[in-house]
Amino acid sequence: MSERRPRVDLSSAVGAVASGMATILKQVFRRDVTEPYPHVIVPPPPRSHIGRHRLNRHENGLEKCIGCELCAFACPADAIWVEGAENDPEHPVSPGERYAKDYQINYLRCIMCGLCVEACPTRALTLTSYYELSFTSREEAIWTKEQLLEPPPPLGTDPVDREG
């Protein structure tokens, strides 16, 4: 063995333990790294897509989603269910011929990989960092189109997700 191997003797042991305890004591004066969530919510970085999806609307109120199912195609976890239908020209839901009659995302399956928003050709689907998703049943975990069209509230404000 060419390299120097550490040895244990009384003096080095006492010294090492002392220096270790000093190092530990030093940490007492460092800033805490944990966060008092939910009293203080540190906003996630802009790109963060650790939260739920959102379906967007055009400025005129029409849905951007055209029910093309590209998101469902792209989803590696089969978490998205889209059913297209034909727009009523009198009362269109989205511009063009087609709209999403049904749109569901199953958050028990979703892995937040973001391929769906990368696939969306109309930016109808975006991922947010609204991560306060808690469910108590399977049904609740499947978000419907109406829920997804609702923009997420600021973090920490949804009473459903608040503790206590």
């Binding site: 970085p45 650790i50 967007n56 590209l70 930016r123």
Partner: protein, 413 residues
């Protein structure tokens, strides 16, 4: 004679350590035969975390494969993604643009540090040094913050894609990485002060779990465990990818082949990774694309953050929905079917924090992999466990597992 010895021998006790046990890194199961507290035999049993990742990729497009493999060894997602992407790129005969390569190296090395920090944390905890665990995770958190800032996710990023990476660093990203590089060396010194000379740490690690070079090689062990036996094997240097041959770093080795040597190597590797990260930051001054330009290969997304979250940029949406029929078709087909990879097979290794991580990828010319097989270092390294622990004490088993640093997600796939 032997009959008499058998008579004299006391009854042994069989202990199932795991699959649910605090220090088996998830769901490793060890069938231990104990004579008192001495380990007579050890049989590792795996498969409790089988996720079907390899099989799943056969039913998904080539591009979707990234989101699966990244979850195999969940502590080194970038390495999984990179090995997969490099393998597919080799089959396609393409190469990612230089900036993408630098970003890949950058994130891999940060990931290596993060992974080693988890190793440090878990080994610390398993040997009872609870504070070290929190320090390890604390510093890793800083890296995960960097990852989240750049990729939007803290783990399982699906950031490395076939043909490049999905997004460039955000503005200010390099600064944050630089800050981290300034912070970490001091922290590494603290770990060393806590552990390197600590008598209990020494007596738990020195001379424990010795795996000599010949046995390590015979068992296919790679990574720090092999380098701790004095074998300077590192894929980054031996079979360079992503331009590793142009980076300045050392392959750290030790001779003692015990747990302590592995500890020293990983600590030193963090420093080496920092060196590489700093070199990457230098190279990132050069702007450039991060994805190949060929629309028949490139993943089509152009992401942009807006008030509604992250999604395709309005300019890109306009381009594919109003301007270019060809771009729309390529977007559609890339998303739905993905790239069609020429038939062939390729084995692509990368040096993950745990050793040689290889992707053996077979294409039959379709838009889905015919087979993706992950040579995960944790899986192979676990083979050496009995060699290292038999004859030792139960407590040494813990030290040895910790020093091998297996990740069951990678073992079971």
């Amino acid at each position: 004679m032997s009959g008499r010895a058998t008579e004299l021998r006391q009854e042994t006790m069989i202990v199932n350590m795991g699959p649910q046990h605090p220090s088996t890194h998830g769901v490793l199961r060890l069938l231990l035969e104990l004579d008192g507290e001495t380990v007579v035999s050890c049989r590792p049993i795996v498969g409790y975390l089988h996720t079907g990742i390899e099989k799943n990729t056969e039913y998904r497009t080539w591009q979707q494969g990234v989101t699966f493999v990244t979850r195999a060894d969940y502590l080194s997602p970038f390495f999984n993604e990179l090995a997969y992407a490099l393998a597919v790129e080799r089959l396609l005969g393409i190469e990612a643009p230089p900036r993408a390569q630098v970003l890949r190296v950058l994130f891999c090395e940060l990931n290596r540090i993060a992974s080693h920090l988890v190793w440090l944390a878990t080994s610390g905890m398993e040997l009872g040094a609870v504070s070290v665990m929190l320090y390890g995770f604390r510093e890793r958190e800083a890296i995960l913050d960097i990852f989240e800032m750049a990729t939007g996710l803290r783990m399982n990023h699906a950031y490395v894609r076939i043909g490049g990476v999905v997004m460039d660093l955000p503005p200010g990203g390099e600064e944050r990485i630089r800050d981290f590089c300034d912070m970490l060396p001091g922290r590494i010194r603290e770990y060393e002060r806590l552990l390197s000379r600590n008598p209990i740490w020494l007596e738990r690690n020195v001379g424990v779990g010795v795996l000599p070079a010949e046995e390590a090689i015979a068992l296919g062990v790679t990574g720090p465990t092999l380098r701790a036996a004095g074998v300077a094997k590192d894929v980054r240097r031996d079979e360079p990818y992503c331009g590793y041959e142009t980076y300045d770093f050392e392959v750290v080795t030790r001779e003692a082949a015990d747990c302590y040597a592995r500890y020293e190597i990983r600590i030193e590797e963090m420093r080496q990774s920092l060196r590489i990260v700093e070199q990457c930051l230098e190279r990132l001054r050069e702007p450039g694309p991060v994805m190949v330009e060929d629309p028949k290969v490139a993943w089509p997304a152009r992401l942009e953050v807006g008030p509604d979250g992250i999604g395709n940029s309005p300019a890109y949406v306009r381009h594919i929905m109003e301007e270019s029929m060809e771009a729309l078709i390529h977007h559609f087909k890339m998303v739905t079917e993905g790239v069609r990879v020429p038939a062939g097979e390729v084995y692509q290794p990368v040096e993950s924090p745990r050793g040689e991580l290889g992707m053996y990828v077979v294409s039959d010319g379709e838009h889905r992999p015919y087979r993706v097989r992950i040579r995960d270092p944790s899986f192979v390294n676990l083979q050496a466990l009995p060699t290292m622990v038999e004859g030792g004490l139960v407590a040494d088993v813990i030290a040895v597992i910790a020093s091998v640093d297996p990740v069951m997600g990678g073992v079971d796939r």
